[in-house]
């Protein structure tokens, strides 16, 4: 047990710091930590910044060198993300491409597919979106009804996706589709890669309770993609889809903690300025949030140690998702409480722009829903970690 950097880790940390100090200047530095969930401000500047990251292989740092990466291990990724957060650099754009799709592609893709898609992600020429959820398939993802049929050299896709974040910005969608006619549940699904810029794809924005519209409905009407744009085996896409969810639940929280810690610091400063820290209940709440965010770090370090040793994150990663989403939601509630009556007003004036406290308060409600709702996480922990018996399953109406 030792929480200090090893000499190798320290050298790497210096390299990251040096790079950030050199590049995070002018308009990029001015962005601060802006952007991210429910905040599409300064999109163009963030694209430019993301390209800088790609050029020096920080975007894609985990990929093997032959695909343009640095073959960075988990610890290095976490160090990079820590320094990134400390430097208050702009929120990342390539979550879906770099964070979710690329690891899945590396695990299940062919060499051709990797060479086709990874460089474009790194160059920030192609952004990705995640086409999983449908009106009838939310938590129960295996109930996906969007169909794809092979027509010669191309798949023809028909159906509807919903809640598709950044579909309006993305060039590609990784998409769970039903390719075996008449199949049910997780059988007969394929993991298709579908280009968004074509007549058969219609994207309709959906306004969120935050007032912004990062997610969308996506309609596929005879949309087309080449026959080879399937990840994994045809009709055997479920395990590929699950692998992506594993990355979504798994590694993100390892580096998120610093951003959360910064938000808590902001809240403490705000509460102090407003005199709210004289209130014993506010003091209790802020201290409790501090306990929570520190333990998030300790949990992350324990999981990272396990990850480095075993190479994979087990179902216990569900604890991480349940933990951080619950913590963050509570921070949002506490932030509004610290504002007192002013919590009723947006300090930004008309236009429904959100300040930090209202943004956290409102957006955090999504976090216990997406990437596996808290209820689903508790089922996973109960069944896969603790070995409790599954519930008896009722048939779906279409089975």
């Amino acid at each position: 047990m030792d929480f200090r950097d090893s000499p190798g880790e320290a050298a790497f940390r210096d390299e990251v710091r040096g790079w950030l100090a050199e590049h995070l200047t002018d308009e990029f530095a001015e962005l601060g930590g802006r952007g991210g969930p429910a905040d599409e401000t300064a999109w163009e500047t963030r694209v430019e910044w993301e390209k800088l990251l790609g050029k020096d292989r920080w975007l894609g740092m985990a990929w093997p060198e032959e695909y343009g990466g640095r073959a960075a291990g988990f610890t290095e990724q976490v160090i990079f993300n820590e320094e990134y957060a400390k430097a208050n650099a702009p929120a990342r754009l390539s979550l879906f491409g770099e964070g979710l799709f690329a690891p899945t592609l590396l695990a299940y893709g062919t060499d051709d597919q990797k060479r086709r898609f990874l460089p474009k992600i790194q160059a920030v020429e192609e952004l990705w979106c995640q086409g999983y959820s449908e009106p009838g398939a939310g938590s129960d993802l295996a109930n996906v009804q969007t169909k794809a049929v092979l027509d010669g050299e191309q798949w023809v896709v028909n159906g509807q996706k919903v809640w598709t974040t950044l579909a309006h910005r993305a060039q590609w969608c990784f998409c769970v589709t039903r390719t075996e006619p008449g199949s049910h549940g997780h059988h007969g699904l394929s993991y298709l890669l579908v280009p968004m810029d074509q007549p058969g794809v219609e994207v309709r924005p959906l306004r969120q309770m935050t007032g912004t519209a990062e997610f969308n409905e996506v309609f596929f009407s005879d949309a087309r993609t080449d026959a080879h744009n399937v990840l994994g085996e045809v009709d055997d896409g479920w395990k590929v889809a699950m692998a992506t969810l594993g990355f979504e639940r798994g590694t993100a929280f390892l580096s998120q903690q610093l951003g959360f810690a910064r938000e808590l610091e902001d809240l403490i400063t705000l509460a102090q300025k407003r005199g709210a820290t004289a209130d014993p209940i506010v003091r209790q709440e802020l201290a409790d949030s501090f306990v929570g965010v520190q333990i998030m770090k300790f949990n992350g370090m324990r999981m990272l140690t396990g990850l480095v040793r075993s190479g994979t994150l087990g179902p216990e990663a569900s604890i991480g998702k349940l933990y951080w989403s619950t913590w963050h939601r509570q921070l949002g509630e506490r932030g509004i409480r610290a504002l007192g009556a002013d919590g009723m007003e947006l300090p930004t004036g008309p236009g429904y722009d959100l300040d930090e406290q209202h943004r956290i308060f409102l957006f955090s409600r999504a976090e216990t829903i997406y990437a596996g709702s808290s209820e689903i996480q508790r089922n996973i922990i109960g069944e896969r970690v603790l070995g409790l018996p599954r519930e008896p399953r009722e048939k779906r109406s279409n089975e």
Binding site: M1, F3, I268, T277, I295, F298, R302, R309, G387
Partner: protein, 376 residues
């Protein structure tokens, strides 16, 4: 960065677990908790002679093995798991640490070898009938100085105060208040003027006593009057120890709940298949694992003796107190009627969880302390 125990540390855990499974089964806990002394002297001696548990983190120069708080934390976690009835927390986590923090080298050489050898049972008497855990709670005044020091007044909630041979008493110099004037004094258990009364504890597995002093002769330990930093540090170290003990108990009640939820059938299904029960268990796991992360990290900070200790000690004590009590309470609920019986062990853990939560200051107390320590 490496957040895992070493192979040697895991071996220590295995050895302690084996020993405790043999020496402290539930029947033995129940036998000892009904006694006034609350421990088995033979097992206490074996702990020292076979495993060297009392000497673990005492420096080699004073008869110890020179291990750290990380190893101590492992031992405490195992003890908490089986509710070991023994004056270990009082002797090792309170008294020995106080002596290490405040005693001169000569005093350490005099007092620690007996503890390390399992010959001395010692405790720290700092709380008073006012029930406060901070400096303001210490009202007992020391009269005179050097060999002519005497103590009068009362100490309450003194863990194993009726069975200890050596009592380290915290008192203050006349006319001082707050963190000023705090001093440590060593008193012999059979000193004239000392009356020791066992208390009727709700948690029978950890004994407490009231100590009444009437002009008792005491020997100053270290520099009387400048003792607050040492006391504060001792309490932080004790909080870290207790947090590790608590996660051992919390894991045990979670295991109990999960085992029961798998086999107890109602409505034709194991109750663990109902989400109302499954989700309780999932939340317990989250809290138990998070408690472990906090307790282990705090043990490392205590071992390093670094500047993080005060913050992480309060953090771990606050979180683990809540997590243990929550888990122990849910364990009763998940067991239904049988969890409410005297025969079932659920209530033993429930009571230990509550008394450990209160001991050294509850979660609310430590969150406020933490707020101050991080500058809120």
């Amino acid at each position: 960065m490496n957040f895992a125990f070493s192979d040697e540390q895991e071996q220590l855990r295995d050895a302690v677990r084996k020993f405790l499974d043999a020496k402290s089964p539930e029947a033995e806990v129940r036998r000892l908790m009904e006694t006034t002394e609350g421990y088995d002297p033979a097992v206490w001696t074996q702990m020292a002679q076979e495993l060297g548990l009392q000497s673990l983190h005492i420096p080699e120069a004073h008869g110890g093995q020179g291990f750290s708080f990380v190893e101590l934390g492992i031992v405490l976690e195992e003890m908490g798991r089986v509710l070991l009835c023994a004056p270990y927390f009082s002797t090792v986590c309170l008294a020995a640490n106080a002596i290490l923090n405040v005693g001169t080298d000569a005093q350490q050489g005099e007092l620690l070898p007996g503890i390390a050898a399992g010959e001395t049972i010692a405790t720290l008497a700092f709380t008073e009938p006012n029930g406060k855990w901070d400096a303001s709670g210490i009202t007992m005044e020391a009269k005179g100085s050097g060999d002519a020091t005497t103590l009068s007044g009362s100490k309450m909630f003194v863990i194993d105060g009726h069975t200890a041979n050596t009592i380290v008493v915290v008192a203050r110099q006349a006319g001082t208040s707050g963190e000023d004037g705090i001093g440590f004094y060593v008193v012999d258990a059979d000193a004239k003027g000392l009356t020791r009364t066992p208390l009727a504890t709700m948690d029978q597995t950890r004994k407490q006593a009231r100590l009444d002093f009437d002009g008792v002769t005491a020997t100053p330990l270290g520099d009387p009057g400048a003792g607050w930093p040492a006391l504060s540090k001792t309490l932080d170290q004790a909080a870290v120890c207790l947090a590790n003990e608590m996660v051992g108990g919390a894991q045990r009640v979670l295991d109990m709940s999960v085992e029961y939820a798998k086999v107890r059938v109602q409505f034709g299904r194991p109750i663990g298949s109902f989400q109302a029960i499954k989700h309780k268990c999932a939340d317990m796991l989250l809290e138990v694992e998070s408690g472990k992360s906090a307790a282990y990290y705090a043990a490392w900070a205590a071992a390093e003796d670094n500047e993080e200790l005060p913050v992480v000690a309060s953090l771990a004590k606050a979180y683990c107190s809540d997590a243990y009590f929550h888990a122990a309470a849910e364990n009763i609920q998940i067991h239904g009627g049988i969890g409410f019986t005297w025969e079932h062990p659920a209530h033993l853990y429930f009571k230990r969880a509550k008394s450990s939560e209160i001991l050294l200051g509850d979660a609310t107390y430590h969150r406020e302390l933490l707020a101050q320590r991080i500058g809120i």
